[in-house]
Structure formats: C-alpha cells, structure tokens
Assembly symmetry: C2
Homo-oligomer: 351 residues x 2
C-alpha cells in the first residue's frame, strides 16, 4: 500500500470540516470562497485562512454535479488510418498551446485517443453521453465527418482544428490555409523555372487534401500551365503511402521536375522511392512539403516546407471555443466562427 499521510491535514477535508472548524455554516463558507458579495470581510478573511490552514480544496465532483459543468474539455486525437507516429507529433505543440489557454480558465484537458487506424466515434459518444467534459475539440477532420454531425445534432459544444463540410457554420473552427500553401508552393517552383509539377496527397476523405489540390490547380492555371492528371497521385497518409505512390508520377515520359507533398510522412517515403530510382531530391527534382515537422529539418536533404504556428493556433482555438460557450462568452457578438491561418515557408535544401 501507499504511504499514509501522518499527522498532516487530510486530503479529504470537506467544506463541512471547514465550517465546523470555524463555527460557521457551510453556505457562508462556500460563498466566502467563491467571492460572493454577501459575506462579511472579516469572515471571508477567516475562511480563506482556515482553508489554507486545513489545506481545503473543493471536491470537483461535487462542484460538477451541482453546477452541471465538469470544467474539463476533451480533445479527441484520432490518428489517420495507417498513421503510426508522425501525425501525432504534429499535435503536441498544438496541444500545449490549447492546454495552456484552458488552464488559464481553470479548465482541464482530457485526451481521448483512438487506436491508430480505427475510426472510433464511440469513444467520443462516451465522453458526451456521460457528460465527462463540457466541450470537445476535434482534430483530423474529414471532408464529411460523422463526429461533427453527431455533436451538432446532440447540441454538444465543440470546435475543430481543420475545416469540414459537415455541420454548417455553427461551430468554431481553425484551420491552416492549405489552399494558399499549395498555391504558393506552385508559385515558388514556377518562379524557379519549373513547369511540370507533381502533387502527392493523402487518399482519404481528409479535407486538407482537397484544399491543397485546389490551391495547386489555381496556381497552375494562373501561370497558364495545364493540369496534368498524371502528375497527381493519392496514397496512404504515411511513409509507405508516399513510397508506393511517388513512382507513379515519375513514370510519365515527360517527368515532373518538382513534387509537392501534402504530408511530411509521405514526403519521406517518397524521397526514399526517388533515391531508389536514382533520382536525388534537391538535385534532380525539387521537393516541397506542405506541413513542416522536425523530421523535414533533419532529413537529408533538408526539406523545404510550409510551417504552421501550432502553439498559437492551440491557444487561439481554445479562445474561440470558450467564446462559443455561454458560460464563458464575453460581450455578445465577439464570437469567432472560423479562422484560417497562413503558413510560413521554411526554405531549406530540397527545392
């Protein structure tokens, strides 16, 4: 068994103990602690001191039950199928920012993880139905996302990292500007003399794959370059997917001179395939990655990539979510529904 606390203040002290110790009613104690106005300044002082002395903190289960709010937010981390380890590091800085802002409001963060590769909406349902959290943050949103449908229909507050076509405009969402990144990537490559530019993206219903391709197409058109379907390929969103699918765009008689990868893991696999074909990224073909991770930096050649500022995005999404919650809403009309953030190009060696 665990060591027991000796003579020190028990952890299990309740508001009753405090009230008894002060010869005061629990109602007054509660009001004093919660900063209510209708309590004498002296008694408040005494209560606060006694609370510190007895090491009293209100039991959160009791508060939650009475107030109908748990003061915790659930983040659902549902890895893409096939994604074993790369997608998640992406979220760590985001989570850090998210949690930091939530902590400022005394909100805790609950993390609901799905098994990688399995889509598990029941994990989400459990949190919602047992009212374990006051709101949910979703990531890895799909183009059509049944989690969003579920939450909207249930009237449960949520926000998403990433856009979706589901659920209308009713929830706060924050996304990276994949469209613009695709556009700028093409721009940059064209400026460097490339005309045949391939695009490799995930094959799933992931929304950002579509957004990226939109930007890619738009930029090509602006430059008067015809979109060649043979230069666009979809694959599993992991290293194996990139490895498998990249050769397909390299077999056309008129090979591309540049490739834009919509995902870092796919880029790493793709570069491996290229190397095996005797094609050197950075020399024989330019490579740009849309979402930067530490791996891009340490790969050889270091991969030029577009980098989001994930920490601030986490903080921002927390703010947006809080503003959408009646209990936290500030002045009316300040609610933010959707935001799209730009990425920063980190020029390295691969393009």
């Amino acid at each position: 068994m665990l060591a027991k606390a000796g003579g020190e203040p028990s952890l299990a002290s309740s508001i009753h103990d405090l009230a008894r110790h002060l010869n005061i009613s629990i109602g007054t104690v509660s009001r004093a602690l919660n900063g209510r106005a209708d309590v004498n300044a002296d008694t408040r002082q005494r209560v606060l001191e006694a609370a510190r002395e007895l090491n009293y903190s209100p039991n959160q289960s009791g508060r939650s039950l009475r107030q109908g709010a748990t003061r915790s937010i659930a983040f659902m981390l549902q890895p893409h199928p096939g994604d074993q380890q790369y997608g998640e590091p992406f979220f760590i800085p985001f989570l850090t920012g998210l949690q930091a802002r939530l902590a400022e409001h005394d909100l805790d963060l609950m993390v609901v993880m799905g098994e990688p590769g399995q889509y598990q909406p029941e994990r989400l349902r459990r949190v919602v139905e047992t009212r374990r959290a006051d709101a949910v943050v979703l990531a890895n949103t799909r183009r059509k996302d049944d989690r969003i449908d579920y939450l909207s229909k249930a009237g449960f507050p949520f926000a998403t990292l990433g856009r979706s076509q589901s659920g209308g405009d009713t929830y706060p969402s924050l996304d990276i500007d994949f469209e613009r990144a695709g556009d700028e990537a093409v721009d940059r490559l064209v400026a460097r003399g490339h005309r045949r530019i391939a695009a490799i993206r995930p094959s799933l219903d992931l929304n950002f794959g579509y957004l990226f391709l939109d930007g890619y197409r738009k930029a090509l058109k602006r430059h008067g370059i015809e979109v060649d379907p043979g230069l666009i390929a979809d694959g599993f969103i992991n290293e194996a997917g990139g490895y498998q699918v990249t050769p397909r765009v390299m077999v056309s008689r008129d090979r591309p001179t540049a490739i834009i990868f919509n995902n870092d893991a796919m880029a790493l696999g793709g570069c491996k395939a290229l190397a095996e074909m005797g094609i050197r990224p950075g020399h024989d073909v330019a490579v740009i990655v849309i979402v930067d991770t530490p791996l891009c930096r340490y790969f050889s050649p270091a991969l030029t990539a577009f980098r989001p500022s994930l920490g601030p995005m986490g903080r921002r999404l927390a703010e947006m979510l809080l503003a959408s919650l009646p209990a936290f809403a500030g002045p009316e009309g300040t609610r933010i529904i959707r935001e799209v953030w730009p990425l920063e190009l980190i020029a390295r060696e691969s393009d």
Copy 2:
C-alpha cells in the same frame, strides 16, 4: 448558438426519467444497470432496453461524487527545461499504450501539461487536491523528485515512467534499462576497435543520465579502459545543449573516436557541431544514441540508436498502476512494484 437536438432523445436524461418511464424505482434501475444480482431478469431486460431507447448514460459527476472515484487517471507531461519539441514526441506512443489499457477499464486520461521549461508542481497539486483523478502517472522523473515526495506524503496513488531515488519502493515504476544500454553501447564500440569513447548526457538531475553513466563506466572497466573525465560532458537536454557541449570532448589532444549520446536532441546538436568542425559522424567518429526517435532514422547519417518499445510500456505501466489500486487489485500478491525494460539496438549508419 449551437444547433439544438430536435425531437430526439435528450442527452440530459437522468435515471429518474428512466425510472418514471418504466414505473419503477430509481434504485432498481441503478441496480439493473450495474449488474447487481438482486434484480429480476425480466426487469433488468426492460431497464436495459429502455436505457438504450432513451439514450441514457449515467452522469459521471454523479457517480464520481457518490463513489468517491472519478474513474480518470492524470498523466503529467512536464517537459524538461529547454526541451521544446523533442521530448514530447517520445511520449506519444507511450501515451497511446497507456490510454488504450486504461480505456479497457473504462478509465479516462487527463493530461496535465506544464509549460516547457518550468517546473510546476502546483499543476499536480491542483489535480490531487480537488480530486480530479484517482491516480497520477508521472514521467520525466528526477533523481530527487518533489512530485513523488508530495504524492507519497499525501497518500495519493501514482506510478512513474522512470525511476527515482525519492519515495522509496512504495509505488509502481517502469523504466528503460539505461544502464544496460550504456553498457552495451560501449561493448559494441569496443568490439569495433574503439578505446576512447566519449559520453554526453543531460546536466539536470534527471535520473537516466546517472544510470547511463553507470553502465558506461562499468563497461569501460570491464574492458580495462580507464575512465577519462575529459570524455564526459553534461549539457542542456536539447539540441543547443548538444551543440554547445560536444566540442568540449573533442578538444583533448587524444580525441575520442566514438561518442555516445544519452539523448536524441543532444545528438542532433552534437552532430551539427561536429560537422562544423569538419568531423563527419559515421566516418571520422562513431555515434550511438541511447534513445531512438524518428529523427534518428532520418538524420544523415542515420543514427544507430537504442530503441524502447514505448507502446507496450504504456500498457504495462497502466497494468501496474491498476494493480496497485485497491479498487482494481486482482489476487493479492500479484502487485508489481518496479520493472526495467531492455532496449533494442537499431544499427544504422553512424557507428
């Protein structure tokens, strides 16, 4: 505002609604749902069906309050000072395994993150004192860890990833065998003809830095090689630390021919420093990293490293923690206190 659910079953249905709907007392409903024996098979059937029909799930706050248990476990992710992004990815597979096993017992995971670089025991205290979780999992344990002292003294159940000298043998802990890894790294290098082998480790009070060095020293002695203090250096546990400190062991007139890094981020920084000195890792000096991460694999040259199996370790620590909780303890005497797991050598190009 959020979309309201239409005519569908309200989320807020309580056990009272269910009881009223069935013309039955709430006590019976509760017993039926919880699989108590003293309830008729027919009524149980009816209750279960009605629960599904009315979409009823017990409110977790209510349960927690009554049972004195929240059914959630807190994981404290407290990055090392200076560690901005590398240490955390290390934890993702561990967290995944931990959460998977906890979920099998209907336990939720709460993640408490500290600001990177700040040691914030008050975050932990808050969780404990407000009884937000039933137990805590600690990572990044220090040699002397006041979090462990605090939890032991408070009699709050916890387990740790990593050993510590604090708290005695009273809590379950799971650790990587850094000592053996340091030993094996030396073994391997000596077998390849190296005699002057440097060791670079974090400067903080992190326990694994000491364990690693123990193994390193032991192996050197076994091979009759004198330990040269000039070949051992401590630095901040991040890339900058490795960059800053690695040159120090390279200035001795009798340069080392091999370096063992106790941390992947320090290895990356160290290799950068080496490159700037015109020393090529893998050619001019052998490099081995004690804890492998994806970065090691994609670095050029790919770094030979010792890899832990973090997912299974997460699952294991969950089991050990559960076995130590009275509410979950299986047959007496099966409690596991400490385990140390070996690492697997991943031979790559750098040694």
